[in-house]
Symmetry: C7
Subunit: 238 residues, 7 copies
């Protein structure tokens, strides 16, 4: 992803463009995302699903949650640096609550994403900081319907139908390209997300080692599944 030997110096600070117009530090921050555990999302016509790997390095450590609720109508999954993610998620919650307070309605998903990306952009242009080493998948429902939006460390966001980030992303994406269709409904999307995660994880794909959340256009409630609920879903997988 990066050249074997970039001319010394162009990749040492966020305030320096390389001669090719690249920001190496932003690209390196992407590598932190690629080293993270897989997170993925599938958008259906009537909702969105997020699913993440949360395997723990040790049996005595509980896997760290990588899906967080931002507001009742929107949640997020991430891959990359845990600490960086938390800072931005806290900020997203503040934006969401503040929007409700000021405008008396849930924050539009894209507006929320934009605000988070504005913070990320600042960390790619000013000296004395590093970019955020984290990518997000925002899933939510607002007046315009369901949304699945990915943000990257550079402050760019992409509206997606189905998307995966982290170490196993490519395997999940390959499956999605083959099997995703535009009329997919939330139940089918849920199973597709699980199958994508199974592909990405190679082994250890159990209800204990993953997280899944979804939101549909009927309830408009972002719901994180319990291990028991996941176990039931797993039965449908077979």
């Amino acid at each position: 992803m990066f050249p074997a030997a970039p001319m010394a110096g162009y990749d040492r600070a966020i305030t320096i463009f390389s001669p090719e117009g690249r920001l190496y530090q932003v690209e390196y921050a992407f590598e932190a995302v690629k080293r993270g555990m897989t997170a993925l999302g599938v958008k259906a016509v009537d909702g969105v699903v997020l699913a993440v790997e949360k395997r723990s390095a040790s049996p005595l450590v509980e896997g760290t949650e990588k899906i967080k609720k931002i507001d009742s109508h929107v949640g997020v999954a991430f891959a990359g640096l845990f600490g960086d993610a938390r800072v931005l998620i806290d900020q997203a919650r503040i934006y969401a609550q503040s929007h409700r307070l000021v405008y008396g309605e849930p924050i539009p998903i894209e507006l929320l994403v934009k605000r988070i990306c504005d913070i990320k952009q600042v960390y790619t242009q000013h000296g004395g900081v590093r970019p955020f080493g984290v990518a997000f998948l925002f899933a939510g429902v607002d007046r315009k319907g369901p949304h699945l939006i990915q943000t990257d460390p550079g402050g760019t966001y992409l509206r997606c139908k189905a998307r995966a980030i982290g170490a196993g992303a490519q395997k999940a994406l390959d499956l999605f390209v083959k099997e995703y269709h535009d009329d997919i409904k939330i139940e089918e999307a849920t199973l597709l997300a699980l199958r994508g995660l199974k592909e990405a994880m190679e082994d250890g794909f159990t209800p204990e080692n993953i997280e899944l959340a979804r939101i549909d256009v009927y309830t408009k409630e972002f719901k994180i599944f319990s291990t028991e609920e996941l176990a039931k879903l797993f039965e449908k997988l077979r």
Copy 2:
């Protein structure tokens, strides 16, 4: 565009002139623009057209919009870093609204452009930041008629008749030089813009993969075309 081996150091910071009086970091930021997807504009006697490529890297990702409305009488297309563009576009919207509020009239296009370029200039002269890696094509109509103005990462702007930026710019410019004439009307300019974009894109030139917007002196409304409207325009192309 840049020498094979600039004397080490002159290109490492925005606060350093090279012995030839060049600002390498600004030139490198131009490279980020050149790596961006093509954006172009054509000014007619009675309006202006903007058109951009918005092909997506993946079938599951919706192409990112690269034409944005600033105010009812002015819009913008860009090539370069998405996150950088968004910061400046937000700022442009604030300038436009603030002008309406204070003076009770739409902001003159060149004044708006000047303000954005003032921000860009600051990022080429002060340490601890990098230049904005984005070029804009502003299209609008004010009392003086239609305007097509390009800005570059260094804070310079050019008033243009027809202009293209990004990866395929040269091909589109070649076409414009051949076919542009000073009496061009908005309908012809629209088709010229589309043909320029077709040249620039090489393949994948479909209504789904592009954006087009225009404003004319009659309605003075900056209008972004829907995919359906683009499909109709495509028919005229043949």
Copy 3:
């Protein structure tokens, strides 16, 4: 843990990602933790135990306490730089008192940990500082029951069943993996913690050279044991 010869420069500042997306300074801060004396914790169904080595370099120096009470319902053990630990422990006490004052109830353990990790994260992303060279084991009881949570220099935290940090951590962890079970009660957990510490310390395992504290769900009081109480516990060990 770190490559023999990282490309010069990527490990010199916290504001630089390496090409592999790693933050070397955070990893080096972990090394400061690994050089620290062993600290460990065991969570039982009805409480949590913390135990640490506090051997002194000289017979004329009293061993430095490495277990601190934060509030009546929560305490902390640490490994790493003493001075860094104290700064964060002071902050934790302020958060805890402030929460009691504002909400009239003990601070939830995870919220407390999150605040400390927020401080740690800032020191991994902004220039002109270094990360905190200290890891914590927080032990406490709140409405959700007993908690054992580890934080690291990067601002990440892990909810644990049993955990050890510092120079002898691996030996203690090996024991825990073999002997920990989910139905463990506080008394058994206490002995397991002591045995883990004994493994980790190699020699000098005496009541004078260690500290132990525990909290159970009945009293909800974080209690640091006196040397006399430790001596009694040691008898049970045999």
Copy 4:
């Protein structure tokens, strides 16, 4: 203009004198001026003329204006970085308006120039910035009569009889030295300015590719010529 190999480092920052007492960054900024398009001025006993080249790189781009009015009695031409020039010109306009407001009279030309040079000087002595890469020719009339004053990137200014800056400056200066005389009147000075610009431009010397402005002691109005007016002047040239 600069030595082949200045001892490494002396030319990397504005806060460093070279062992010879030179400020290389200021000298390099002069190079940016020398790369700019030619701008020149001729002072007559009864007025001042400014003329500049404004050739465009492309037939579809309108040449950028390089003569700007500051106040009714003073204007400016520049060579060098467009963005840098605009920042200082905006500032000059503010000084001029503010002087009128406070003292109820047009700002004296030299005072105006001094203020602009004060800004330029600051950018040659303090770290974290670069010098302004632009030179100005101020032309105006005040109580003391007509003025033609050049400023350079280092904050020095020179009162001139006839002067040229930018890429073709030497050729124009050669002509001026030969033909300028102290009794020159504004009409003759205008033709001398045009002839100087013709020498400097080599080719493309047409009314469309140049700008000319003048101010005389009778009207005290700084007037920028239209292309039509320039065409008439060109007839006199032959």
Copy 5:
């Protein structure tokens, strides 16, 4: 104490951890302490004694005092940079007076030490400064009895029974390890301190070349001995 050739760079700033998790600048500051003249302290069951070498480089210079009273119940001896010590001692006096004012009682010794160490820690984690090149021995009596506490340049403190810092520290410590016992009374401790200092100084051990201060639990007054009083003590030594 430091490796012959640390990888270049890890020891150049306080904001950089070495790959082994060490802060070289803090370790180098320790060297400044080791180069200082010997200071030592002995805690008895009923008081604490401080003694320091204050030999002067020249017979015409009066030796510089290295024992300072902070408040009536606490004093301090130091080894290392004189100027750095004075800054922190001034601060300690302010903390002590401020505590008396606010709480109406003498400041607890450990709390006072903690505050000084907090200042020291800040200077080991933030850029643009260096650590304090000084170590202190605080001696005082509060409600909990007598205290002898050492602080180091990194912001760590150690509660001690007997302790020595500076150039001759090891020799004094060797004596203390052999002869210190837990039932030592203030008079015996005073003689032990003197004998330790004699060991450390090699030659020049005279009442004029040393300072001694002590505080006991009866008077709770920190008292610096005059040369005459020292002379009397010296008689007891023989």
Copy 6:
């Protein structure tokens, strides 16, 4: 004046002493003074004379004035960077006016010089700036009589009887040493100053190419001579 090869680095910043205790950047700033055109002064028992070279590089550029009046009783000549000089001269005028306002009397010459030197000193001790590349000769009359005081880039000042700075200083000083005597009167001093300048300039010594100013104890008015007055003085020279 500076060693052929100073150990790399000691001369790169004003905040670094060389191992010999020298501030190279201050010494390099002196070089900027030495490259400047000659300025000189002669103090008589009843007044002071200043004279400077103001040759222009081009016949179309009017020579730049290098003698400035600060207040009615004091003026200044300089050698070195024009822009740097102007900043300090503006400041000197403010000090002079402010003193008149507050104390109702002309500012004492040495006090004025001290204030300017205070500014210069700051620029030799703090990072992020460079020293002022200018030396001044202040000439004035106050209650204590006539004064001729030189300031240098390091913030030092010297009270002088006769003094020269800039490129031709040595030649003028040689003359002064030979011919200056303590009973010199203002008229003789004026001729000595002119003869010194003639020595220094080598060629081009004409009334048009020089400036001269003087102040005597009778009028206490600092008076800059017109070209006509200079022409008359030149007659006396022969």
Copy 7:
């Protein structure tokens, strides 16, 4: 005084300790003091004498005064950078006046010295500045009697009986060691100071080339001698 080749880098900034715990920049600042002209002081039982060399580099330059009165009861002599000295002397005068105003009594000499040293210390610990390149000899009389105190660039001070600083210091000190005795009276001390200065200066020891000041316990007035008074003293020398 400094090693032939300090490991590159340890001596480039005041914020870096060398591996031996030395602050090279402070040591280099001492070199600036050693290059200064000799200043010395002798304390008698009933007063203090200061004497300095003030030879001028040129017969046309009046020697610069190096003894300054701070308040009526205290004065100072210095060796090192003139500009640096002036900044601190101004500050000392402010402290002295402010003390008189607040407490209605002359400032104690040691307190005054401490304040100046506090300023000096700050310039040895914080980045972006350099240490003050000046040493002082403070001479004064307060309630405790006469004082002679030396300060160095690192912020340390020494109470002295007789002391010399600057280029000829060693020769004067050698004389003082031989001839100083504790019962010396002010008249004898004055002659000893003069003889010390004579040793230090090698040649040019005349009343015109030196300064001398003294203060005794009877008048408590710091008095700088005129050249005439010095001439009389010189007669006593023979």
